[in-house]
């Protein structure tokens, strides 16, 4: 019988243990497919951070390194500088890239570090139990903004891909979402491009993906998708935010 659908070779056999309805699993699968389709599983080194994204260490079929909170991009820099011919990517949450690791996020882009970063944005710190992140939406209730994020007091959400896109070393920046089948297909295209950019040695690539956190948002998986659409999509600019001429020519 012809197999028409199965687990991509880019993932290990280990079952995901993310919370029900969390879209980490969808994003993992997309990356696993891209690794397989580009035939780079054996040449890729991933870097996992701290937080829910830290579990990714076990789920991808390629070599993986576990970094400290926020430091994945500095660790990836060290790996890439040691092994320039390998494919190096980081898989990080919004807390990792937009809070504790902001300095590294800015500087890998400024240096044009030839790595690929994937930022999963669910507008909270997930693993620690749903605290406010720099990406938390105005008015959003979290355990550390129990009356809703007051932007006058604690600032407005950071649109990290837009910020990174202003830096010259970033050659490809995309902001995606996995809330609908159409957006999932678009996200995969962007992920593939971000790895191809690295293969071509063109510079730094970032793909930000809006994701859900039903557990910490206190919503059902279906309502979480709706919440993302109603609250996150209007705040964060979507699409390929930066595609340099060299990347277009790929």
């Amino acid at each position: 019988m012809q197999r028409v659908f199965g687990r991509p070779k880019g993932l290990t056999e280990l079952p995901f243990h993310y919370c029900p309805g969390c879209t980490h699993g969808v994003i993992h699968r997309l990356i696993g497919e891209v690794l397989e389709e580009l035939d780079i599983i054996g040449d890729t080194i991933g870097v996992a951070p701290v937080g829910c994204a830290g579990f990714s260490l076990d789920f991808f079929a390629c070599d993986f390194v576990g970094a400290a909170h926020g430091r994945a991009q500095a660790v990836a820099t060290g790996i890439k500088r040691a092994l320039p011919d390998k494919v190096v990517f980081t898989y990080q949450g919004d807390g990792d890239i937009a809070a504790i690791g902001t300095a590294h996020a800015i500087h890998v882009a400024a240096r044009g570090e030839k790595i690929t970063s994937i930022m999963v944005n669910n507008a909270v710190f997930g693993m620690t139990g749903g605290q406010m992140a720099p990406t938390t939406i105005g008015g959003q209730i979290t355990t550390t903004s129990p009356y809703g994020r007051d932007c006058a007091l604690v600032g407005t959400p950071i649109d990290m891909p837009k910020t990174v896109a202003t830096l010259n070393g970033a050659v490809y920046v995309a902001a995606c979402s996995v809330d609908t089948p159409k957006n999932i297909i678009q996200t995969k295209k962007c992920l593939k491009k971000a790895f191809q950019v690295q293969q071509a040695g063109l510079g730094y690539a970032l793909v930000s993906i809006l994701s859900t956190c039903p557990t910490n948002w206190g919503l059902s998986p279906a309502d979480s998708l709706k919440w993302l659409q109603e609250n996150m999509l209007p705040v964060y600019e979507m699409g390929e935010l930066k595609v340099t001429e060299e990347v277009k020519a790929l």
Partner: protein, 353 residues
């Protein structure tokens, strides 16, 4: 073999290149800056890479990344910068990664000053980062040792898969001395069959430091404990200088050990049986040097801090002989006569200064 007049910091840089260091990640801070400057100039020519990180935190984590590939890698800093590296040091120890980290100690606490100091002893030897780990700490006392110990540090790091600290100070780092550019005999080192680099043709590898199950956490901790115990047993090193028949011992490392040598000679000239124990490994602390204290009437520990190594001396001595302490602070050095005078005072000796 050539001899060159070099700054201590430059000797460290040259030794790193000759030891096969392929990557250096650093952030400038006085008085360690010549290390990043020297390597920026010379390491690329030797086929290596130097990258100035956005800060010390980035630099140590870049080292972490490069070390996971099995490459020889180093960073260098001075006290406030070394503090920023402590998070990374804890992760390096836990992930069992070989990295050489130089700390050209300046004064403290806080931003402090640039002069010679030994105020980072606790931080280096007791674990400046979280979680209770140990790391090898080597204490050179002259240009030649800065060179030799740096070379050896790479072998020790690879052998034990652990961060190795070279603890220098602003005095040693900035002084120019002749350094013989020795070649080290090739040490037998274990294969880096744990390093990542793409899993083509083999099983996937992981390098990480966390375990969320307590049972696995304990297994990991017992493994580290056994490793630290093995290092403690096999790595203790010190220099004995007229210590064999000594009635009075001075204990000092690095710059203090160097000054104390002249004190020993001056005291001996006057007929006093004074000797020196100069710890070379600060961790593991050379407790074995104090195994036999027969005939020793007392010990004077000399340091450039409020009293840090003196605690390890007291533990090693276990109350078998009295231990006294002398210090200078804030970048000042004790003179030979000052130490001699202190010896006379605490041991009631009629020394002439």
């Amino acid at each position: 073999m050539s001899k060159e007049l070099m700054k201590g910091n430059e000797a460290i840089g040259e030794a790193a290149i000759r030891a096969g260091c392929k990557l250096f990640f650093g952030y400038p801070i006085t008085p360690s800056t010549e290390i990043v400057e020297y390597l920026s100039k010379h390491l690329p020519k030797a086929g290596g890479t130097v990258l100035q990180g956005e800060d010390e935190v980035a630099s140590i984590n870049m080292c972490y990344g490069a070390a996971t590939t099995g490459a020889r890698v180093m960073t260098a800093s001075s006290s406030p910068g070394f503090s920023l590296k402590q998070e990374g040091m804890s992760y390096l120890a836990a992930a069992e990664l070989p990295v050489v980290v130089v700390n050209v100690n300046r004064t403290g606490p806080g931003l402090g000053g640039l002069g010679p100091s030994q105020s980072d002893y606790f931080q280096c030897t007791k674990g400046g980062g979280h979680g209770g780990y140990r790391q090898i700490v080597l204490a050179p006392s002259k240009g030649q040792e800065l060179y030799d110990f740096t070379m050896e540090a790479f072998d020790l790091a690879d052998k034990y898969r652990t961060p190795v600290v070279i603890l220098s100070d602003g005095f040693l780092g900035q002084m120019m001395e002749p350094v013989e550019l020795k070649k080290r005999p090739k040490a037998e080192l274990p294969a880096k069959d744990w390093a990542v680099g793409g899993c083509k043709g083999r099983a996937k590898r992981k390098v990480a430091s966390y375990s969320l199950t307590n049972e696995i956490g304990e297994v990991n901790n017992l493994h580290w404990e056994a490793k630290f115990a093995e290092m403690k047993d096999s790595l203790q090193r010190w220099e004995s200088f007229h210590a064999e028949d000594a009635e009075y011992l001075i204990v000092g490392y690095g710059t203090c050990g160097r000054i104390a040598k002249s004190v020993v000679l001056k005291a001996r000239k006057q007929g006093f049986k004074v000797g020196l124990i100069r710890p070379i490994t600060l961790w593991p602390f050379p407790e074995e040097a104090f195994a036999n204290l027969d005939g020793v009437k007392g010990i004077l520990t000399v340091e450039l801090n409020f009293g840090q190594m003196v605690e390890d001396v007291k533990l090693a001595v276990e109350c078998r002989t009295p231990v006294y302490f002398h210090n200078r602070l804030g970048g000042m050095l004790p003179s030979e006569n000052e130490i001699l005078r202190k010896l006379g005072q605490v041991f009631d000796l009629a020394v002439e200064v």
